[in-house]
């Protein structure tokens, strides 16, 4: 996994946001650095929802911040409609940034406790010298009554209502892309469903493009068209939600799915798919970053980093030994190491007690067209 490469990117004309080889590092003292995001690439087409999923420390929130240039990434490119954001500074960046908006995880912390709800939502128009005429419309759109809600302060609201205010604040500037960073993980299940439904509704109404970041795969799948799985600052797998759940190819995706209680996917128990603790992002493993916890790891995984390659219709994986997904398509980019097709399904030593009995790799199955 721990993959790099850009094979999965679509032609620039088709996408509104294109991120290439994003690298973000933070100083960790003594001259070392935290490799938070290491060469992540993805793109989002207009009107699409890209879900980014992964566990804590996988760099998904850092990626979100890097898209906003807060702070700008160390290397890599972020293009919004072809405009390179990483090259912008000062006033130009400030003007462009408003086209992207963010919704944060903590509904309480993301609202200024000293300001009234109306002022919070009206801040965007005020900054840009526009009138506050859209404020009431936005409050109504997110399911709040402007008459009673607007003059209150955030602490008078529940977490779900605060998140509605955050959404209104983000949408009032009519952004092209909204980045949702774990917008529902602090909420109760009933409120979570309300917010998810609201996001879907607003996406339709305002023709939004969403980047939806969360750790809960079921939540991400519910709202996303495509899902990007990240691990320790790298990309593992990219596919439609259905393909990812039905034919997970990356060992980490499989472990993630198997860990979900009552997932109902017929995967082996999670403890057979993943072991140990995530390694430190200060000294990440060589080659594939998942190899230290992967039951299928071989010496190749330590020696060489896998790159993203196509294994199905719009299904991409960065793994030397992906799980059979029915039909193995030839990688679009020439692989650095030429291998016989069998090499894609080696029998690692751990396989002895592994319940993952490889199904016949030779039976070609036509991937479902959606």
């Amino acid at each position: 996994m721990a993959g790099s490469g850009n094979a999965h990117l679509r032609p620039p004309g088709e996408v509104v946001l294109r991120v290439e080889d994003l690298v973000v590092e933070f100083p960790a003292g003594r001259g070392r650095s935290v490799h938070a995001v290491s060469g992540v690439s993805f793109d989002v087409a207009r009107g699409e929802t890209l879900g980014i999923v992964g566990e804590s420390g996988c760099g998904k929130s850092t990626t979100a911040r890097a898209l906003m240039q807060m702070p700008p990434p160390l290397r890599g490119s972020v293009r919004l409609d072809g405009l390179e954001l990483t090259a912008l500074r000062g006033e130009a960046l400030r003007r462009t940034r408003r086209r992207l908006q963010m919704i944060f995880q903590d509904p309480i912390s993301s609202l200024n406790p000293r300001r009234r709800v109306r002022d919070i939502v009206a801040e965007g128009p005020r900054v840009w010298g526009a009138g506050a005429d859209r404020v009431d419309e936005m409050l109504t759109a997110v399911g709040l009554d402007p008459a009673t809600a607007a003059t209150r302060r955030p602490h008078e609201f529940s977490g779900g209502q605060c998140q509605r205010v955050s959404i209104a604040r983000a949408l009032v500037l009519d952004p092209e892309i909204v980045i949702c960073d774990e917008p529902v993980s602090a909420l109760d299940v009933s409120v979570q469903a309300q917010i998810l439904a609201l996001l879907e509704e607003l996406k339709e109404r305002y023709r939004l493009t969403l980047v939806f970041i969360a750790h809960d795969l079921a939540v991400v799948k519910n709202v996303s068209d495509r899902i990007l799985v990240m691990y320790l600052g790298k990309v593992c797998e990219l596919a439609s939600g259905d393909a990812l759940v039905e034919r997970p190819a990356h060992p980490y995706t499989r472990a993630l799915l198997a860990s979900i209680p009552r997932g109902g996917l017929g995967l082996p128990p999670a403890d057979q798919l993943i072991s140990g603790e995530p390694p430190s992002p200060v000294t990440p493993p060589s080659g594939c970053r998942f190899r230290t916890r992967c039951p299928a790891a071989t010496p190749l995984c330590a020696a060489e980093e896998p790159v993203m390659r196509r294994i199905g219709t719009d299904h991409w994986v960065a793994c030397h030994h992906p799980q059979e997904t029915g039909e193995i398509l030839k990688p679009v980019e020439a692989p650095q190491v030429a291998r016989a097709p069998e090499a894609a399904f080696p029998q690692p030593a751990e396989e002895a007690e592994d319940a993952r009995v490889p199904k016949s790799p030779k039976v070609p199955k036509v991937p479902k067209v959606r």
Partner: protein, 676 residues
């Protein structure tokens, strides 16, 4: 919002207003001049002509105290203003800009702090002369480094908050972000510290005056008055005592105001905190049969809090039994009372403002009859608990080893060496690699999953019969959650103990428990074996919760069935069935009569509903589904109206907050009690 400042605040404010008014209008008051001698007999005590008496030269002490207040207040307020004027902008700049700006400002600041303040003050006053202005400038300048530090700290805290990031995302310039988002939040702590700073400046001026280094005679100052009165201490003590007392009261008043203002920044009052009053009376328990051969029986358990807004029934008549080798899950949303229920079983609810009722039997022994000491022993050896945040359960400054060994040495009387060996075994048994090395580590050096393993090892150290796990995996990643829950189940099987698992996550509950209790508004609304409860759900609330969770097997953009509204206000729960305002099946009877627990066709499956789902009573006349795709806004709007905007939110929060508060204190207490 109503905020309580307390009578002490208003008393203090009154005193300062009085002093300020007196000092400002001293020339207009019917007082003798402060330097007029022999307005009365020298050294006369307080009397009708001279309420504070006279000093050695027959000058009126009241007049001198009032005029002296001018110097004290000018220096006190002026020095603080000067400090804020220079310190606050530097602090905001350092805290907001960080990096090089911060390094330079704080570097200079640290050097300034290292400079001996008193020597500086003495030197300046000695060279430049002891005038009011000089004293003011010296004290003001001396305060600047402290202001820089304070403002920088507060700025840093708020700059980290997401609303600052949100403002920058909106395209606000730094200046706008600072003025609108950061400064208003920093100003309250600054104001509170300003009052404390004034008290400090007044004391400092007094000390300088006492040394004769403040404003020179004949201008009276409080410190000067005390100094002058010193020789008369035996004959006319009032000359010293009265200015001392006035100064003491003033300093106290400034401190009190500062303190109360700071309390405002820390605490958010919802009027639902338990009132600080001890209540010994117990709520009566309904008659019940004490069952034999069950490990744990809870009968009609009640925990009510007396709050400013009325009685909050956090746990209201809960009964259940638990057998060895079984896992009982308690599930519900925040504010449902699930955490409070297990705290009530463990006897860990706060003393003040709490009324309890009902019984808890462990192997037939009534735990509610035990005194604190006996209960501590039970908690140490027979019932153990693991909470959501392992970091609060572990002492950050002690090694893992000392913390795991402590209960072994205290409860089981092990020697140090044996305890260390046993601790290593325990850590190994919960799947911690290299236990000997981990024993020497500190909690912050471990990952969240490892820390939770350590707290589980500690909970298991004395071989408990029941392990209570309150949201043990909510703070953990899903792959780690799987590991921890697997570990708890394996331990349960190996030790033949029972587990009580509290969770908001229905899928966790469905996968890892044998029996389930669903709570709503402090009551059990459905209870039964996990399979029966999830497959033949009867209570509409349980059904709604199950449907609100996205499923992996559903296609993308699958509309979720919404449960409108929020949990009810526990201080004013709805009449009848507490769920009826949110229930799609509710009819008239639901708002009038509270449903008892009915027996479902499956054994041990109970539900509290007049028109249960999946039965003849429930299917008839079901209201149209509130589906996610259509009418979301309408449904939400209806929900907004149905649930009172503010109260419900607060009610939900207060229990969550109370639980969070308890978590921090009780976990530590719990750990300690195991230790002692």
């Amino acid at each position: 919002m109503r905020r309580r400042l307390g009578w002490s605040f208003w008393l203090a404010l009154g005193w300062i207003t009085l002093i300020l008014a007196a000092a400002a209008t001293a020339d207009l008051l019917p007082l003798p001049r402060y330097d007029e001698t022999l307005v009365g007999p020298p050294q006369a005590g307080p009397g009708p002509d001279h309420p504070f008496g006279t000093d050695g030269l027959g000058r009126d002490v009241l007049s001198r105290v009032v005029y002296g207040a001018r110097v004290s207040l000018i220096v006190g307020i002026g020095a603080v203003l000067l400090g804020v004027l220079f310190g606050a902008p530097l602090g905001v700049l350092a805290g907001y800009r960080r990096r090089a700006t911060d390094a330079v400002i704080m570097g200079v600041n640290d050097i300034a702090l290292a400079f001996p303040a008193l020597v500086f003050a003495l030197a300046v006053v000695a060279f430049a002369g002891a005038s009011l202005l000089n004293v003011l400038i010296v004290l003001g300048v001396l305060g600047v480094p402290a202001w820089v530090r304070l403002v920088r700290g507060a700025t840093m805290v708020f700059s980290e908050r997401e609303f600052v990031a949100a403002a920058r995302v909106l395209g606000a310039r730094d200046r706008t972000v600072l003025w609108r988002e950061v400064v208003p939040n920093v100003s309250l702590p600054v104001l509170s510290y300003a009052f404390i700073g004034m008290a400090v400046a007044i004391v400092a001026e007094g000390s300088l005056a006492f040394l004769g280094l403040s404003v020179q005679a004949p201008t009276p100052t409080w410190g000067g008055l005390i100094n002058e009165g010193r020789p008369l201490m035996e004959d006319a003590p009032h000359v010293v005592l009265i200015p001392s007392f006035v100064m003491f009261l003033t300093v106290l008043a400034f401190n009190l105001i500062g303190d109360r203002l700071r309390a405002l920044t820390d605490v958010r009052q919802s009027n639902l905190e338990p009132v600080r009053r001890r209540q010994a009376d117990r709520l009566p328990a309904r008659p019940h049969h004490v069952e034999e051969d069950v490990l744990l029986q809870v009968a009609d358990l009640r925990t009510h809090f007396t709050t400013a807004r009325g009685a909050v029934r956090a746990v209201d008549g809960v009964s259940f039994t638990l057998q060895r080798g079984r896992t009982l899950a308690i599930v519900g949303e925040s504010g449902s009372g699930k955490s409070m229920l297990i705290r009530s079983v463990l006897g860990l609810t706060p003393e003040a403002g709490t009324r309890r009722g009902g019984r808890v039997y462990l192997d037939g022994q009534d735990l509610t009859e035990l005194d604190d000491e006996q209960m501590r022993h039970i908690l140490g050896t027979r019932m153990a608990a693991v909470f959501q945040d392992p970091m609060t359960a572990l002492n950050p400054v002690r090694t893992i080893g000392t913390q795991v060994m402590e209960p072994l040495m205290v409860h089981l009387g092990m020697k140090r060496k044996a305890a260390r060996a046993r601790a290593a075994e325990l850590l190994a048994s919960v799947g911690i690699p290299e236990p000997a090395r981990i024993l020497r580590r500190y909690p912050h050096q471990l990952s969240g999953g490892m820390r939770q393993r350590v707290t589980i090892a500690m909970a298991l150290s004395c071989g408990p019969d029941i392990l209570f796990a309150d949201e043990p995996t909510t703070a953990l990643d899903v792959t780690v959650q799987d590991q921890v829950l697997r570990l708890i189940r394996r331990q349960r099987e190996e030790r033949h103990m029972a587990v009580v698992l509290v969770s908001h996550d229905l899928s966790v509950v469905a996968e890892w428990s044998d029996e389930v209790i669903v709570m709503y508004a402090g009551k059990v609304v459905e209870r039964g074996p996990a399979d029966s409860l999830f497959e033949r759900t009867r209570m509409p609330y349980t059904e709604a919760l199950l449907r609100a969770v996205p499923k992996l097997t559903d296609p993308a953009h699958h509309p979720l069935r919404l449960l409108p509204g929020r949990p009810p206000d526990l201080a004013h729960p709805p009449s009848g069935c507490a769920f009826h305002p949110r229930c799609p099946y509710a009819r008239e009877r639901c708002s009038q009569e509270e449903p008892p627990l009915f027996q479902a066709e499956t054994l041990d499956h109970l539900y509290a509903c007049w028109y249960p789902v999946g039965t003849g009573a429930g299917v008839v006349e079901t209201s149209p589904e509130l589906s996610g795709a259509s009418g979301t806004a309408e449904a939400l709007k209806a929900a907004e109206e149905a649930a009172e905007l503010e109260e419900a939110a607060e009610a939900a929060e207060v229990v969550a907050e109370a639980a969070a508060e308890l978590e921090t204190t009780d976990v530590i207490e719990g750990a300690d009690s195991r230790g002692r």
